[in-house]
């Protein structure tokens, strides 16, 4: 492809802003200046779906009503571990109003049914005329179980002789054996899997022994976090209408493409026979990337009944079966010299994602600070509990909770301000600016731990995070301009709720010299071009360059038609405020509207995807460059008599490349901070170890934060230009959530002079830490 050179802004305004030359493909637009010089991008633009959402006219998946639609409910196992001897659905089938019953069976040579491995595992489903009837029918299904021993507690599961989640030997792994050493030094077997010793950043580096021998201080600690469920406002679910020519799926999903491909694979259908629609989305936080079990179930019921089937989960099902952030028992041994230089980081972690894998926490310790000697061993502990799922910066939130407290502890050992220590050991240029600007806004003035007096003690803390910048090249956008002057953007990308729909309008409007409200955005439908799932905070960086590129191409098409009318060359034309004009001769101009009216066809359109990152990728296997920094500061007050902690305020300093919509970025940071505070103080999945059930599978005793739990949140946003794409923008959803719990934990320590080492920090654990509880 032909390329050309362009000069791009590069660096951080107010710090080191400069320029850089990049070679870019000829079909991508010239560099944008920094946000100050743009009209629509980088501004506070109201969400283009705000009115629909607040007035209730926005239709979410559970609102979908189709002619003849049935309502479905799934039967879930009420024991944590069992073989299923029989499932008798005859009574359910005879129940008046029931239209279809489906039982999950295994086509494997063994048992007819898969074993139950956690309480809440779906077994069967019923579609009926109403949800009440479906629930009644589900209760009539008779299941005969042969129950088996089970294990819920992570540390119990690590012991030799614990009931096994997977019976077959776990066997030799590519990167380790089946026997791991547990956090306390004892050997574990069976339910342990690992260790994982590498990430995309590579594996172990340097020489740990050497590193520790060079250290003046060595910290050796274990940090623990709880299992955290996602609790999106909208639960998982689908409405599926399986017609002979097409299966139409309305899904609450973070990935229209993922659901389409999953169902196509499950039913062996061509992709063009499955259409997935998600126009509005009530949150997912990482748990909504696949069709789940409910997708195939709803499809089976639709096929059997010949009717559309609604299958949305209830809150209890959501908690027990649709994902969680695994817990962690996170061991860190860190060596440092007197001047703060880190000499060695040894990390070992165990965590449970229930019956699934994915409980590692190691990447942040590997990547946040410069340390020549590093090793990690991350073990999954399998337990008879619901499967984990990606959860807003997977592994990093648990990892940062440990690492950033450890760094705080080292600062303490060295009698240094923890912010000063980070200045010494953190190589990131953007976090340097985040620390400076964040500390100023917060009013950071270090005071020794436990130095506040009185019953209510205040404390301050800081923590940092990093999140990789990723993009997904399978991201395509189509831009159409109609002869009536209207503009439409189309992509299969879904808006998880962060405002993707609005930034697409902004980017296209900026390129076409229009206003954001002039642009109609149609997304969340697989009949439009493919786009990535909303995960990894990749959507903004992946989808906005194609949107700008497509708008640029369609603009060129329009210029080609307009140029002869204005007696000039297309290359001499530009757009501004709804006008197409000659770059040098102000008399040669035409309104965009008139130009479109005079087109030879009723519409013109262009599709575009995006090139590799300008300047190339950092990772040879693709798709990564740089990091998205955050530094968060917390102030807490602790009632030393009741153990009650209140997070008073958080200053969250963040970068996300070129900010596209300030209001929406702030909204993401607010959400990330609130979830972080909640993780630090409130939310925790409570399992009964003796019966294997989750005890707080609701939003009553699963403690979510409400208004009084939410601190004042002060956001410091730093623009950082890296000239990597035509928009140079990145997401912020995940970075916003990583550092908060660690900052709060450090602030609690600073307040009371005692560190807790475990979240959530509750009145019970605070009073215990203060030695006020006799056991």
């Amino acid at each position: 492809m032909d390329k050309r050179k362009e000069i791009f802004p590069h660096g951080i305004p107010g710090h080191n802003l400069g320029e850089i030359e990049r070679e870019i493909p000829n079909d991508e637009p010239p560099a944008w200046p920094i946000n100050d010089k743009l009209k629509v991008v980088g501004k506070r633009i109201r969400r283009n779906d705000a009115l629909a959402k607040v007035t209730g006219s926005a239709k979410y998946t559970s609102d979908i009503q189709l002619p003849g639609m049935l309502y479905a409910k799934m039967l879930r196992a009420n024991v944590p571990h069992a073989k299923i001897l029989s499932i008798d659905t005859s009574k359910a089938e005879r129940h008046p109003g029931v239209r279809a019953v489906h039982v999950f069976t295994s086509d494997d040579e063994g048992s007819k049914y898969q074993d139950v491995k956690y309480a809440g595992q779906p077994l069967a489903g019923v579609a009926a005329d109403s949800l009440d009837i479906a629930k009644e029918a589900v209760a009539l299904i008779e299941v005969e179980y042969e129950t088996m021993p089970f294990v819920i507690d992570t540390e119990e599961a690590m012991k030799e002789g614990a009931p096994l989640v997977y019976e077959e030997p776990i066997g030799e792994q590519t990167d380790g054996g089946d026997v791991g050493v547990t956090h306390d030094g004892s050997e574990g077997k069976g339910n342990l899997r690992g260790p994982t010793t590498s990430s995309f950043l590579g594996g172990a580096r340097g020489d740990l022994d050497q590193g520790f021998s060079e250290a003046d201080v060595i910290l050796d600690r274990t940090y623990r976090t709880q299992v955290h469920t996602h609790v999106p406002l909208e639960t998982h679910g689908v409405v599926i209408d399986w017609k002979p020519d097409q299966m139409t799926v309305y899904a609450s999903t973070q990935s229209t493409k993922g659901v389409r491909d999953g169902l196509a694979s499950y039913f062996d259908l061509p992709k063009n026979k499955v259409r997935v629609i998600c126009e509005f989305m009530g949150g997912g936080f990482g748990a909504k990337h696949s069709a789940g079990t409910f997708g195939p179930m709803a499809a089976e019921l639709s096929r059997k009944s010949g009717r559309p089937v609604w299958l949305m989960l209830d809150r209890k099902e959501e908690h027990i079966a649709e994902g969680n952030r695994p817990n962690s028992i996170h061991h860190l041994k860190i060596g440092a010299k007197k001047d703060g230089t880190l000499t060695a980081i040894q990390q070992k972690s165990h965590g449970t994602a229930g019956v699934a894998l994915g409980a590692g926490v190691g990447r942040i310790a590997q990547g946040l600070y410069t340390c020549p000697n590093f090793s990690t061993e991350q073990y999954d502990v399998l337990t008879h509990a619901g499967p984990g799922a990606a959860w807003r910066a997977p592994g990093n939130v648990q990892g940062a909770y440990g690492l950033e407290q450890a760094i705080d502890e080292i600062a303490d050992m060295l009698k240094t301000d923890p912010l000063v220590l980070r200045e010494k050991i953190d190589p990131s240029e953007v976090r340097k600016v985040l620390r400076q600007r964040g500390a100023k806004s917060f009013g950071w003035k270090y005071r020794p731990p436990g130095s506040d007096t009185g019953r209510i003690k205040k404390g301050i803390g800081v923590a940092q995070s990093t999140w990789p910048r990723f993009v997904n090249l399978d991201s395509t956008v189509e831009v159409k301009m109609y002869s009536d002057g209207t503009v439409e953007v189309r992509s299969g990308v879904q808006d998880i709720g962060t405002g993707t729909k609005t930034i697409l309008a902004q980017v296209v409007a900026e390129e076409l010299g229009l206003k954001a409200e002039d642009i109609t955005v149609r997304i969340g439908d697989t009949i439009f071009p493919d786009a990535p799932g909303s995960g990894g905070s990749i959507v903004t960086g992946a989808i906005t360059p194609p949107a700008r590129n497509a708008a640029y191409l369609v603009k060129q098409k329009l210029f080609n038609q307009v140029a002869p009318q204005l007696e000039t060359e297309p290359s001499m034309l530009t757009v501004s405020d709804g006008m197409i004009m000659h770059k040098e001769d102000a008399s040669k101009k035409i309104s965009m509207r008139d130009a479109l009216r005079r087109m030879r066809t009723g519409q013109i359109e262009a599709s575009a995807s995006r090139s590799d990152d300008y300047g190339g990728f950092q990772q040879p296997w693709g798709l990564a460059y740089g990091d998205l920094g955050s530094v968060q500061f917390a102030e807490v007050s602790v009632d030393t008599e009741t153990g009650f902690v209140k997070v008073e305020r958080i200053t969250a300093a963040h970068s996300c490349g070129r900010p596209l919509n300030i209001s929406q970025i702030e909204s993401q940071v607010n959400g990330g901070v609130i979830q972080g505070v909640s993780y630090a103080l409130y939310e925790s999945r409570v399992m009964d170890n003796k019966t294997g059930h989750m005890m707080n599978a609701n939003v009553d005793q699963y403690r979510m934060p409400y208004a009084k739990e939410i601190p004042d949140i002060d956001i410091v946003l730093v623009e950082e230009y890296s000239a990597r794409s035509s928009t140079d923008a990145y997401g912020i959803g995940e970075p916003a959530n990583i550092a908060t719990a660690a900052a709060v934990a450090n602030a609690v320590y600073n307040a009371i002079g005692v560190r807790l080492y475990e979240i959530p920090m509750t009145p019970a654990s605070i009073l215990k830490a203060l030695n006020k509880v006799e056991q």
Partner: protein
């Protein structure tokens, strides 16, 4: 939730004719044929959503005339109709002025939205929030089973006193304050006869019968709450500690009512909520306060006395220092 018939009761007598069971009976025996009362519905509907009770008929008492009034008698006693909402009590100036601890307890219960729906009668009759009781998968003592799962299970929110059988705590933190004012529950039976039952006699300990938390029978209905008159010298304070401030169930709450002559306490009520399966008067604390000039050290003594009989479970020993802190604080807020 099961499908049910709805009956709009026109009078107390009409309502009593329609019902044939109590929610408690139905949770334990599950006849599937029950007709039960609903006022605000904030507890009943939760129980129904969990499948713990599946009434055939719901007898709605929320619109019965005359049950939603707060009236003061000539002797300055107060009668709160059973259908008065918590929000209405919260906003009532006379109650706030005379019965501060009750005002505080009501204002800290649940959320504004729930207080708009929840009635005082329903609040007294609600079932425990013990998560084992609320789970369809655990047939515990309170549901007619033979196990208290919380005793050796997840019991951080549970009872530290009187926890020899079921270890749940009562969900009504409003009762903590009512008991401290020597309030009485007004109960009407099928014959239209009214009786007044002191709060301590209204609640049933699980040792007597774990399947119910109060004395109500199927032919009885709470029609109101009686508050004895208080003089200006009767001072009160209430503190509830929940894990969250916006909305949560109490993990420890206390109401202190003292008759004060200057700084001397001549009579005291100290009632603990979320300490035991029923709201619990702490007579050791009351004895410590009575007849004394109340000072910080007396407050400490009373708080310590209140916790003398505490026998915490595996996860709730933290409640002892927590109760001591809020008892001290409540006492000192009065003097």
């Amino acid at each position: 939730m099961n499908r049910f018939k709805w009956y709009e009761a026109k009078s107390v007598e009409d309502a009593l004719e329609q019902v044939n069971s109590t929610v408690s009976n139905e949770v334990a025996s599950r006849t599937g044929n029950a007709a039960v009362f609903k006022a605000g519905g904030t507890d009943l509907l939760d129980l129904m959503k969990e499948g713990l009770v599946e009434p055939k008929t719901i007898v709605h008492i929320g619109n019965i005339p005359g049950m939603r009034e707060i009236t003061a008698d000539l002797d300055e006693s107060v009668r709160i109709g059973a259908n008065v909402t918590l929000a209405e009590i919260e906003e009532h100036a006379y109650i706030r002025d005379r019965y501060l601890a009750l005002h505080q307890a009501v204002a800290s219960a649940a959320t504004p939205q729930l207080r708009n729906m929840a009635t005082i009668g329903g609040n007294l009759a609600q079932r425990t929030r013990c998560w084992y009781f609320r789970s369809i998968d655990h047939k515990c003592l309170r549901k007619g089973g033979d196990t208290c799962f919380a005793r050796r299970g997840e019991n951080e929110n549970h009872a530290i006193m009187n926890n020899g059988t079921c270890v749940s705590v009562h969900a009504s933190s409003v009762s903590t304050a009512l008991m401290a004012f020597d309030a009485e529950v007004i109960i009407t039976d099928g014959k239209g006869e009214e009786k007044r039952v002191p709060m301590e006699e209204f609640f049933v300990s699980p040792g007597e019968d774990a399947t119910t938390e109060n004395i109500l029978r199927a032919n009885e209905i709470i029609t109101g709450v009686y508050l004895p008159p208080v003089k200006d010298s009767r001072k009160s304070y209430y503190i509830k500690q929940g894990p969250r401030k916006s909305y949560d169930w109490s993990i420890a709450d206390v109401a202190v009512v003292m008759e004060m002559q200057g700084s001397k306490c001549t009579e005291a009520r100290v009632v603990l909520g979320a300490a035991a399966p029923t709201p619990l008067r702490s007579r050791p604390a009351e004895r410590t306060l009575t007849g004394k000039q109340v000072s910080a050290s007396v407050a400490v003594e009373a708080a310590t006395a209140a916790m003398e009989r505490a026998r915490p479970l595996s996860q709730n020993a933290y409640k002892i220092p927590l109760f001591e802190a809020i008892i001290r604080e409540a006492i000192m807020e009065i003097v």
